[in-house]
């Protein structure tokens, strides 16, 4: 049986037919068209300059994509990001400043770009969490490899990793500067400046912890 090739889809109703430029002598002789093109650029340039001087220029920072200049002077000027914008990661802390991360490696398991490296360790002798929990001795994220999918944030059972810093990686000039270590990640704050998480956890032993145990009354 003869193979039926898929038909060319019909043009969408709102399609605009682009007129083919006739090869008129002005087109073929090249230079007149060049000057025409330059003319368009120059007219934009002069109009934008005039708008700037008369203060009529639309504010590109608030993302008005009307006529006029829509480019901004990044990083001096920044567009406001939506509340749920996923920026550079941070590691949240407990009240005592220790990382909330328990080095469960759920984030690095979920990460499709495999850009999270964690080395787990045990709290030192004398720490009240020793024996119960682990913590990340090293926690490294390669921000250059990250695709900002947010899976790590979703995967974390402890709300220890978040992408609510509101910043995206600064344009560094070498690769190693994009490799954020644990201290960098813990040093970053949320947009409201806090280092703690918005979802505090009741830890065993806390006065807020509802549990009874051997040490705290039966």
């Amino acid at each position: 049986m003869a193979q039926a090739f898929p038909k060319k889809p019909a043009s969408p109703p709102n399609a605009v037919t682009v007129a083919y430029t006739e090869k008129t002598p002005t087109v073929q002789s090249y230079l007149p068209e060049i000057f025409k093109g330059l003319g368009v650029s120059m007219s934009h340039f002069f109009r934008n300059t005039r708008d700037m001087l008369t203060g009529e220029r639309p504010d590109p920072v608030t993302e008005r994509l009307d006529d006029g200049i829509t480019t901004i002077q990044y990083p001096e000027q920044k567009r406001p990001y939506p509340q749920r914008f996923r920026g550079v990661h941070r590691l949240t802390t407990r009240d005592d400043g220790s990382p909330r991360c328990v080095a469960c490696l759920c984030c690095s398991t979920a990460c499709p770009a495999q850009c999270i490296f964690i080395e787990a360790g045990e709290y030192p002798e004398g720490d009240k969490r020793r024996g119960y929990e682990r913590f990340p001795v090293r926690f490294v994220i390669d921000e250059l490899r990250c695709i900002f999918c947010g899976y790590c944030v979703e995967a974390c059972p402890c709300d220890a990793i978040r992408m609510d810093t509101g910043i995206h990686p600064v344009p560094y000039d070498s690769r190693d500067q994009f490799i954020y270590a644990k201290s960098d990640l813990m040093g970053l704050a949320a947009r409201d400046g806090s280092h703690e998480t918005a979802n505090p956890r009741h830890e065993p032993g806390d006065p807020t912890h509802p549990g009874i145990d051997r040490e705290h009354g039966h």
């Binding site: 080095a103 469960c104 759920c106 398991t109 682990r134 065993p204 549990g211 051997r214």
Partner: protein
Amino acid sequence: MPTFKLDGKSIPFEPGESIIRAAEKAGVEIPHYCYHPGLSAPANCRMCLVEILPAANQRAMMLDIVEWDEKLGDYRTIKKPKLQPACQFPATDGQEVLAEQSPHVIAARAGVQEFLLLNHPVDCPICDQAGECKLQDYWLEHQQTPKRMHDEPVHKPKAVSFGDTIVYDAERCVMCTRCIRFMEEVAKDPVLDMRERGNLKEVIVAPGRKLEGHYTFMTEHVCPVGALTTKDFRFKARVWFLKSAKTVCQGCATGCNATFDYDPRTNKALRYRPRDNERVNKFWMCDEGMLSYRDVVEGRVPEAQVSGKTVKIERALEEIKKRFASVQKGSIAFVLSAKHSLEDNLALFELAELCGSRAIYTSGAPAGYSDDILIHADKNSNTAGIQNLAPDAKSFDALLADARAGKVTHVIALGGAAPTDDVSALEGLQGLCVVAAHVGPLTRAASVVLPASAWIEASGTFVNAKGMRQLAEKGTEPLGSAEPGWKLVAKVAVHLGVEPSWTTLKDVRAMLVATSVPPPEPSQTASAE
């Protein structure tokens, strides 16, 4: 063979076998926590309940229970058959058993799961059992509902040190008593027991004692949940990142079947687990053996050495050429090692033959502790192998004596280990070339050392004390510039001016067929998990 029917499937069994064991051997898993094929069956977890249909012309034992009736808005009494624990119930010929097909069994499994998780802390993110935990697996398979109890769970002691090796978390324990039974029945040291009742129950160590001995790691291994963890492995890795190789423990001549877990991303050895083989080690391994995975990096010879200085392998081979140039090839002595694989030993044996030398000696680690459970006094994994290969090889003492008498001047040896620490007789030799994975008296005395890969870095064959030939798979990549021993022996041969007849592992294995070494064991396992 008699058979019984499980969900309509016919399952053969040996007389006296429990339903769960027969099903397991036939590849059907009945969920269980307290049952372990190597231990007695206390039937206390109730996860393995099955419905056993009464024999013809008999009535089933029925129980009166109450069930909540949604329509009625009240409880009503119904009858349900009495379920039986498959781990303790012996299979009988022609019996009909329902598991997956019985609504009562399905309800019972979900109920048992919910009950076990009532007070469970669900520490999974920090629990080292995550990824190989029965509670997780069975929750997904048989429950999938949240628990209905909203009270704060009972809190019990966490991170209790049971001894130098094991940490106990009472909150995670499901009271299956596997660890207690293991210590009593296999290790013959009933140091663990339980105290309290109900949800306050916990495992304790006998007063004044610690969990110690040669088999403490096994308690962790039999624990179906994360209640017992070894101090060695806890918090080190998540099992889902690890790769495993089927290997043979090198600790002694028993040759326990083991699974070697390593992290392929970092090429890091992480642990040993026993691999079931009822004819060798059943389901067990000893502590020393379980910790011997560390030998992959500890005490290794990572680089070639000439007179104690680290050099490139090529440079070391040139040195061998120089030192062995003056000697008649037939008078070189060759030393086989009981700590190296059959492949390495065979290559050296072949080299001796190609050189026309009759001076073949053996070496290996000195004997040590033994017991009547698993541990063998012979601390070499391949003594039987080299005995089969070269039955008339002379002992290491003979080598020392011959060296002292000046009968031996040039030696090519495999393995750093020697039965004695005092090898001063070998220090004066004109040439002592050692191809070794691990340092030992021989590598310290050697003039030239070549770095061989360890047992886990190259596929190799070992013959245990019972004469069973077992294959160890390759796991991690070689350390430093280590290469398989047989390959290095081939290079040495070239530098001695002989043409080796083997260049690939296949060649060496083909030569192995022609020797008197017993044929390989078919791998025989019956999963304990």
